[in-house]
Symmetry: C2
Subunit: 316 residues, 2 copies
């Protein structure tokens, strides 16, 4: 039996899975990343994850390779993690060769958003299409592109920054310092800013009973599910802005599908329906009408599943 180990290296946890050739998750593990304790500690934790899986797997399992998804900028062909805000311990760090030598296995590393896209494309909500984007809605907005059936990385492996598509260049300030990016609307700060403005305008809502600084997007989603009008309106407004961004992508790339995941996407159709509306209104006819905007199906396993898929592709 053949399986591939996928490692999803996050700022807080390392998630790992052993995925067989049919996409079944054979084993699954999670340990803390221990960011801030030095480059070597993270390497040791990644090695530990692989060893834990190797210890638990059946003896007839053959592992041709390991894939890693890491948060930030990665030079894929060189196996180097360049940099990223959530992993300050590593800078121009040759993670693939270091792990490969210690494990005596082929190791490949890529950006975590790309890995989620590859996972959803191969075994999740992106199955069966050739041109898609996976968008992860959380504190920020991550994304990865599958074009003509292959992960598209661009000339320096930094493609896929959909979150920083400008939709209103005189709009609200984004986490990146620029104005009017998609993330400035649908990122956590963006959503909370829209809520705050509406509450300060005197609107009533069950959310008024909470301490404003403690409210998170998931609270707004829960309030919407209970029928809170203001919460529904907030999610509509930010979802519609997301849809304007999707319209840009539809016009440019004529994708078949956009798969939407991440914590904020748990609000489901409260965000997806206005996003579909915004996209249809802003996209050209064919591009807008044919684009499917669907929820992700692999949850927070998309990252390690995608990393295992990359290891699979890499060993072919």
């Amino acid at each position: 039996m053949t399986g591939y180990i996928g490692l999803d290296l996050g700022g807080t946890f390392i998630k790992a899975g052993l995925v067989d050739q049919d996409g079944n998750i054979v084993l699954e593990k999670q340990i803390p990343t221990q960011v801030g304790q030095g480059a070597e500690v993270i390497v040791e934790n990644l090695l530990e994850m692989v060893r834990l899986i190797q210890d638990d797997m059946s003896e007839d399992m053959d592992i041709p390779g390991v894939g890693i998804g890491a948060p930030g900028c990665v030079k894929v062909s060189e196996g180097i993690y360049v940099e990223g805000p959530n992993l300050p311990d590593w800078k121009d760090f040759p993670v693939a060769s270091i792990l490969s030598e210690k494990l005596e296995l082929s190791v490949v590393v890529d950006n975590d958003a790309n890995m989620a896209a590859l996972g959803e494309y191969t075994y999740g909500a992106g199955q069966g299409c050739t041109d898609m984007m996976m968008v992860t809605l959380g504190t920020g907005v991550g994304s990865g592109l599958i074009l003509d059936g292959k992960l598209y990385r661009g000339v320096h492996d930094t493609a896929g920054e959909f979150g920083h598509t400008t939709i209103q260049f005189e709009g609200p300030v984004c986490n990146c310092g620029r104005k009017g990016c998609v993330e400035a609307y649908i990122g956590t700060n963006g959503i909370l800013a829209v809520l705050k403005a509406k509450l300060e305008a005197g609107r009533s809502s069950v959310l008024k009973e909470m301490v404003l600084d403690k409210i998170m997007p998931k609270d707004i989603g829960m309030a919407a599910k209970k029928g809170d009008e203001l919460a529904i309106e907030v999610l509509h407004d930010v979802g519609y802005a997301l849809g304007i961004g999707f319209g840009n992508i539809a016009n440019l790339l004529n994708l078949e599908r956009i798969v939407v995941g991440g914590g904020v996407a748990a609000a489901g159709d409260f965000i997806l329906e206005p996003a579909r509306k915004g996209c249809r209104e802003m996209a050209m006819k064919v591009q807008g009408e044919t684009l499917q905007i669907v929820p992700a199906s692999l949850g927070n396993k998309a990252g390690f599943i995608g990393a295992a898929c990359l290891a699979m592709l890499n060993s072919q």
Copy 2:
């Protein structure tokens, strides 16, 4: 000797060329399209162009195929011209099979903006890169994408509508009816609206001596070259808006190069410099710093050269 015939079918003229395998233009012709006289007349004119070239070419020339670039929506794999505003005579018109039967040659048809992109990529300003966009600035904004060294068409062959990237969703109305598209700034109407607003605000300019409704973008370009401050400012403003759109593309696709052609691009660096500035300011660091924004080099021959290239690819 082997050559390919490329036909650039425009709303006013059909331009045609015989292009050899090294990209040399062996022969070149042009006749009126005669739009509005029925589907058959345009077919006859296309056939006439091919025959004129065949009559003039040397006897040892072998023609494996013909390529056509047409303005509008094309189903490439089926050889069908679907529709477009500049070619109302054709609707779901099987142009490739009709011409192929009459010429007894392989015929392939694609969108004209794609053909310009393929032409510049193969033999023009896009040579040597794998990921590029060709943008044609005219009445509207056309564009085509080369990704991973291949023409990227999307799932219904309608990719590449960069002109309708929204950069300010509360911005000026575009030719497409939506608001704040790139074309709403850098399309002919957009440029003239910016000029008009500045003139009406009482600004002085040599352009004040012209009848406002007769001014075209090329007049603004000429005034800029003579040092007219207002003309320079108009081109700066619309060029900067174009650059914001380029920033979106840079972030999403991490392209190596954007090639800018079309009549409006004759203003050269009066538009390209602010576009580069806008792009650098709106794109992420790596994506923005490494993207080259360069003028096209094939002029109005890009279309038929690209169509000949498609015929070449199609016969391989």
